[in-house]
Each structure stands twice: as structure tokens, then as C-alpha cells.
């Protein structure tokens, strides 16, 4: 099973303390989805992952981290 973690919460605070609502608006999703993402309860689609990364002006790899160890279990 794959394990994808993210640093959305840290990036939000690094970007002028962006609120979850603001990020949700920019990424085209709901605030509830951002909450689920930050809590690690939701793995986004590629499209949403790219939109979130673009909201922070960075690459997808800077936001999401794929754990190789978990995928080879």
C-alpha cells in the first residue's frame, strides 16, 4: 500500500499564513478536503495535487512525498 504524505499545513503558514478556505478556493476543492488532506485521511487525484502545488508556486514533489518503503510492503 502506498503512503503519500504532504506538507500542506507548513506551506500554508509559509505562504503568509494562508487559510484553508483560501487554499481550497485556489485549488478548486472544498475546505473539508483540505482538512482531510492535512490530516492524512485523503490522497488526492493527480489533478488536485498539481493544482495545490501551483497554489504554492512549487512542484508537486515539494508538497507531496511518496514513501518507497510503504509501497514495497
Amino acid at each position: 500500500m502506498s503512503e503519500i504524505t504532504n506538507s500542506i499545513r507548513r506551506l500554508r503558514f509559509d505562504h503568509n499564513e494562508m487559510t484553508q478556505e483560501e487554499l481550497a478556493k485556489q485549488a478548486g476543492c472544498t475546505r473539508q478536503t483540505i482538512i482531510a488532506l492535512e490530516a492524512g485521511k485523503y490522497t488526492p487525484s493527480l489533478a488536485l495535487a498539481f493544482r495545490i502545488a501551483r497554489s504554492f508556486d512549487c512542484r508537486v514533489e515539494d508538497v507531496f512525498t511518496f514513501s518507497e518503503d510503504a509501497s514495497t510492503e
Partner: protein, 136 residues
């Protein structure tokens, strides 16, 4: 709590009221009249008014699709079990060799009830746990 969860809670609560109503009316008026208790579930026809302008995203669509699938599977299972149960009761317990034609509509209604109930439960469960996105 978003609109889908509110609708799911409304469905679960009204279904619970229907089942309690059915169990109360059953010994008093028999199964045919007691079945009318499920008419109360019709209040869910207004559930579409809850948060109809609320924005939904890929996670909501994903959960709704999975919950619908879970409801359909539960409904199919209930239909099969209902058919087998009817046959078991009529053939083995009552010793009759024919099943009444009135049983099939009742089993179909049971399948519908199970579908909506299972779908609502699945929505509430899926919003509370990890969900993988796919192509939605």
C-alpha cells in the same frame, strides 16, 4: 458537516423512525398496515433542498460513488436473501408449494429500503476515514 452528510443523517434517522414505527404497528395491525410506517421515509424527498448550492469536489464525488456502490451491493444481497427467505418460509415452514405473487413487490421494496439505508451509512463512514482518490 457538509450537505451530503446532513442528508445521510436525515436518511438514517427517518429510516430508524420507520423501523420503530413498523415494529410498534406490527402486533397491532398486522404486516400490511404496519408497512405504511415506511411512508414516513418519503420526507427524504425534500433532502435535495439541503445545501443544494453547496460546492462539491472530487472527494465528495468519490465518496458518493463508493457509497452508491455499497448501497447497491447491500440491496442486491437483501434481494437475494429476501427471495431465499420467502422460499424457505413458504416451502419448508408452511409446507406450501407456491410463493404468493405479492411477495416479490415486498422484497423489491425491501431492496430499495436497504439501498438508501446502506448508502447513508456508507457516506457517514467514508467521510470519517481515509479515502483514495481515483479518476473522478
Amino acid at each position: 458537516m457538509n450537505a451530503e452528510q446532513k442528508r445521510a443523517w436525515l436518511s438514517v434517522v427517518t429510516m430508524s423512525v420507520c423501523v420503530v414505527g413498523y415494529l410498534v404497528l406490527l402486533p397491532l395491525f398486522g404486516p400490511v398496515v404496519a408497512f405504511a410506517a415506511f411512508a414516513f421515509y418519503g420526507i427524504n424527498g425534500f433532502a435535495g433542498l439541503i445545501g443544494r448550492h453547496e460546492k462539491i469536489d472530487e472527494r465528495d464525488k468519490n465518496i458518493a460513488r463508493r457509497a452508491t456502490l455499497a448501497g447497491a451491493m447491500a440491496s442486491y444481497g437483501a434481494f437475494i436473501l429476501g427471495c431465499m427467505g420467502a422460499w424457505e418460509v413458504v416451502w419448508h415452514l408452511q409446507g406450501k408449494d407456491m410463493v404468493s405473487v405479492h411477495i416479490l413487490p415486498n422484497i423489491t421494496i425491501l431492496g430499495g429500503i436497504v439501498f438508501f439505508f446502506a448508502r447513508s451509512i456508507a457516506i457517514l463512514v467514508l467521510y470519517g476515514r481515509h479515502v483514495e482518490a481515483d479518476n473522478v
